[in-house]
C-alpha cells in the first residue's frame, strides 16, 4: 500500500477553485517532483497535506497517510504528524527561522516535542545534525543566532530541523529558489543525500525543471490547479506528452533543444496566459492555449489516463499518440 495517497483533492478559497481534483500517490522512499508555474497549486497541495492551509479554505477529497485520512484529523492530531512523520522546508531561508532564538534551540525543539528527549541528549543530537548538514563544529555552534548565518547556511539549519525526528516524507517547497545559483546545487545535493541516507520520501516542489531532473525519480506536472501529467521523470522528460509540458520544456533555455536555434531567434513561449482561479472553465483547462486542441477538449476536462509510454497524461490529444 502506498505511504501517501491523495485522492480527488480539491481546495476552494472563496470563489476561487485553487486545486481541481488532484490525485496521486507516493511509495515509501519515493522522490516525486511537482513542477509548474507560480500559482499552479503545487504549494497548496503541500500545505493541504500538512494541514496548514488558511482557515478560509474549503478542502474536499482524501489524503491518506499510513492508513489515516489526514483531512479527518483535528489540529492536535495533525500536530503529531507534522515534523515527526511529514516535515517541510520552505522557500525563504532568511525569514524561516526565529531571529531571537538560537539555532540549537530551534533544531532541538522538534525532538524535545515529539521524541521527549532531555536537554543533554537533544543537544548532542543537534551537534551531530549540524555536522550532517555541513555546518560542523566548532565553527557552527548551536548557540549561534540566525542573523549570524548566510541564506544557504540558514537553509541547512532548516534541513537539519526537518531531519531531526526522522520523518517518513520530506516536502521541499522551492527550497533553493531564494538562494544564489552556486549555493543551490549544494543544497540540492544535501537534500538528495539526506533523503537517500534516511530512506525518506521526497516531494520536491519547484518551477525549475533542472532541479527536478537532478533530484527526483518521479514527476508530476501541475497547471492551473490540475495535474496534467504524471510519471517517471525520465518518461515525462523524454515524451513530453502533455502540450503544456512540452511548452514548458520548450520555454526553458536549454542547450540541447535550442542549441540549433539561429542566433537572435526568440525562445518559444506558450501563447496566452494562465486562467484566473475563479474563472469557470468547462472542458480542458489548457484548451484555450493549446495548439493541439480539438472539439472534445472544450466539452469536458480530461482525466489522468495511462498512455502507451506507461505514464499518465490528462489530455485527449497528447503528443506521442498517433492521432
Amino acid at each position: 500500500m502506498a505511504l501517501l495517497s491523495v485522492e480527488n483533492l480539491s481546495v476552494h478559497i472563496g470563489p476561487a477553485h485553487i486545486l481541481k481534483d488532484v490525485s496521486f500517490s507516493m511509495e515509501k522512499g519515493e522522490t516525486l517532483g511537482f513542477v509548474g508555474e507560480s500559482g499552479c497549486g503545487k504549494s497548496i497541495t503541500a500545505m493541504a497535506i500538512m494541514g496548514l492551509l488558511t482557515e478560509q479554505a474549503t478542502v474536499s477529497g482524501r489524503i491518506v497517510f499510513d492508513g489515516q485520512d489526514l483531512l479527518t484529523l483535528d489540529d492536535r492530531a495533525m500536530c503529531k504528524i507534522r515534523g515527526l512523520r511529514i516535515a517541510m522546508v520552505f522557500q525563504e531561508p532568511m525569514t524561516a527561522l526565529n531571529p531571537v532564538k538560537s539555532i540549537g534551540f530551534q533544531i532541538a525543539e522538534g525532538m524535545r516535542l515529539h521524541l521527549g528527549l532531555g536537554r543533554a541528549e537533544a543537544e548532542r543530537r543537534v551537534v551531530s545534525l549540524l555536522d550532517r548538514v555541513g555546518l560542523p563544529a566548532p565553527r557552527f555552534s548551536p548557540d549561534l543566532y540566525p542573523h549570524q548565518l548566510s541564506g544557504g547556511q540558514r537553509q541547512r539549519v532548516v534541513i537539519a530541523m526537518t531531519m531531526a525526528c526522522g520523518p517518513d516524507i520530506l516536502i521541499a517547497d522551492e527550497p533553493t529558489t531564494a538562494l544564489d545559483v552556486t549555493i543551490q546545487a549544494r543544497i540540492l545535493d544535501l537534500i538528495a543525500e539526506v533523503v537517500e541516507q534516511d530512506g525518506m520520501g521526497l516531494m520536491m516542489i519547484t518551477h525549475d525543471l533542472g532541479v527536478v531532473a537532478q533530484t527526483t525519480d518521479n514527476l508530476a506536472v501541475m497547471y492551473a490547479g490540475a495535474m496534467v501529467e504524471h510519471g517517471t521523470t525520465q518518461a515525462v522528460f523524454s515524451s513530453l506528452s502533455h502540450p503544456y509540458t512540452r511548452g514548458l520544456f520548450g520555454a526553458m533555455p536549454h542547450l540541447e533543444s535550442h542549441g540549433d536555434l539561429a542566433p537572435g531567434a526568440l525562445l518559444p513561449t506558450i501563447p496566452g496566459s494562465v486562467p484566473q482561479p475563479s474563472e469557470k472553465i468547462s472542458g480542458c483547462i489548457f484548451a484555450g492555449r493549446c495548439e493541439r486542441a480539438q472539439d472534445q477538449c472544450k466539452v469536458a476536462p480530461p482525466t489522468l489516463t495511462k498512455n502507451d509510454g506507461g505514464h499518465q497524461v490528462a489530455c485527449f490529444n497528447p503528443w506521442g499518440v498517433v492521432a
Binding site: 507534522r82 531571537v100 522538534g110 516535542l113 543566532y145 530541523m161
Partner: protein, 317 residues
C-alpha cells in the same frame, strides 16, 4: 555587547548634560534676572538684592551652572524660596506619593492592555477584536483628567466608596494610602492601556504572519504554542518601545492627575511652584523629571539588546 552598552551610556550622559544645560538656560539665563521674575514687578529693591545674593546671581552663568549640577549630583538642590526648606526635602516628601502612583498606573495598564491585545489578535476580525478596537478608540479620545472627574463623580459623589481627593498618608495605614491612590491610578492608566492594547494587538498580528511561525507549525507545534514560544519575545519589542515612550506621557499625566485629586505629589509641587514663581524648585524638578525620562529610555534601549540578539552586534559568519 560591551561596546553597545558603553555607547548607549555615553549617549545617556550627553543627553542628561544637554537637558540640564537647556533647563538652566531657559530658566536662569534667558529671563535675564531670575530674582526679578520670582519676586514680580512690585518687588522691593532690598528683597531683590537679598534674593540675588542668596541665589548667587552675581557669579557668572557658567559657574552657577556647575555649582548647580554638582549640587544636584550630591543631592543638594538648594532651598525653595517659598517654602524655605531644602528642595531635596520637598522632593522626598512628594516622591512617596508620585512614585507609587506612577507604578500603580504602569502595572494597571500593562496588566490590562497586554492580555487584551493578545486576545484581540488571536480573535482577529471577530467580535472580540472589533470590540477591543472600538473601546480603545474611545478610550484614547477621552482626556484622562475628565475620566478622573467622571470616576470621582461615580465613585466618590454617587457611591461614596472613595473620597473625592486628598491623600491619606502612608503613616496612617498602608491600605488607606493605597486606596486614595487607586482612582488616580486608574485615571492615569486608561489612555495608556488603550494605546498599549492596540500596539500589542498589531504587533502580535504581524508576528502571526511571520514565516518562522509557519516553520514552528510545520515542526508540529500547535497554534497557540507556536505563538507563545516564538512570537511573544518578538512581539514584545515594539510594545516595549511604546511603553518607554509612554513614560514621558505618564509623567505629564501625573502632573494633571495629582491636581485633579489634590494629591501632594511632585506634579502638584511643580504646579504650585509655578504659581508661586519659585524658579529654584521649578528648575530642579524639571531637570529631575526630564532626567528620569532619559534614564528610562536608556533602560528601554538596554532591554532591547536583551530581547533581540541581533542588536548585540556580530554580523553573519
Amino acid at each position: 555587547m560591551a561596546i553597545f552598552f558603553l555607547r548607549r551610556a555615553l549617549t545617556l550622559f550627553a543627553t542628561l548634560v544637554a537637558t540640564s544645560i537647556i533647563v538652566f538656560l531657559v530658566l536662569e539665563v534667558i529671563p535675564g534676572d531670575p530674582a526679578a521674575v520670582m519676586l514680580g514687578v512690585n518687588a522691593q529693591a532690598d528683597t531683590l538684592a537679598a534674593l540675588r545674593a542668596e541665589m548667587g546671581l552675581d557669579l557668572p552663568a557658567t559657574e552657577r551652572y556647575f555649582n548647580w549640577t554638582l549640587g544636584l549630583l550630591q543631592g543638594d538642590m538648594g532651598n525653595s524660596y517659598t517654602y524655605g526648606v531644602p528642595v531635596s526635602e520637598l522632593v522626598a516628601e512628594r516622591v512617596v506619593v508620585s512614585l507609587p502612583l506612577a507604578l500603580m498606573a504602569i502595572v494597571l495598564s500593562t496588566v490590562i492592555a497586554i492580555p487584551v491585545g493578545v486576545l484581540a489578535a488571536a480573535r482577529h476580525n471577530k467580535p472580540t477584536d472589533l470590540g477591543v478596537m472600538g473601546v480603545s478608540q474611545i478610550a484614547v479620545a477621552i482626556p484622562n483628567f475628565w475620566f478622573a472627574i467622571l470616576l470621582i463623580l461615580l465613585f466618590a459623589v454617587k457611591l461614596q466608596w472613595f473620597s473625592a481627593g486628598g491623600f491619606a498618608g502612608w503613616e496612617n495605614g498602608f491600605w488607606g494610602a493605597l486606596k486614595s491612590l487607586l482612582l488616580p491610578a486608574v485615571a492615569l492608566a486608561l489612555p495608556q492601556a488603550a494605546i498599549l492594547a492596540r500596539v500589542t494587538r498589531s504587533s502580535v498580528l504581524e508576528i502571526m504572519g511571520e514565516d518562522y511561525i509557519r516553520t514552528a507549525r510545520a515542526k508540529g507545534l500547535g497554534k497557540s504554542s507556536a505563538l507563545w514560544r516564538h512570537g511573544v519575545r518578538n512581539a514584545l519589542i515594539p510594545v516595549i518601545t511604546i511603553m518607554g515612550l509612554q513614560f514621558s506621557f505618564l509623567l505629564a499625566g501625573t502632573i494633571i492627575i495629582e491636581n485633579v485629586f489634590y494629591l501632594p505629589g511632585l506634579g502638584r509641587l511643580i504646579f504650585q511652584a509655578i504659581a508661586q514663581r519659585d524658579l529654584i524648585v521649578v528648575k530642579d524638578l524639571i531637570v529631575l523629571l526630564a532626567g528620569t525620562v532619559v534614564v528610562v529610555n536608556f533602560i528601554v534601549d538596554m532591554l532591547y539588546a536583551v530581547l533581540d540578539p541581533r542588536l548585540r552586534g556580530g554580523g553573519h559568519g
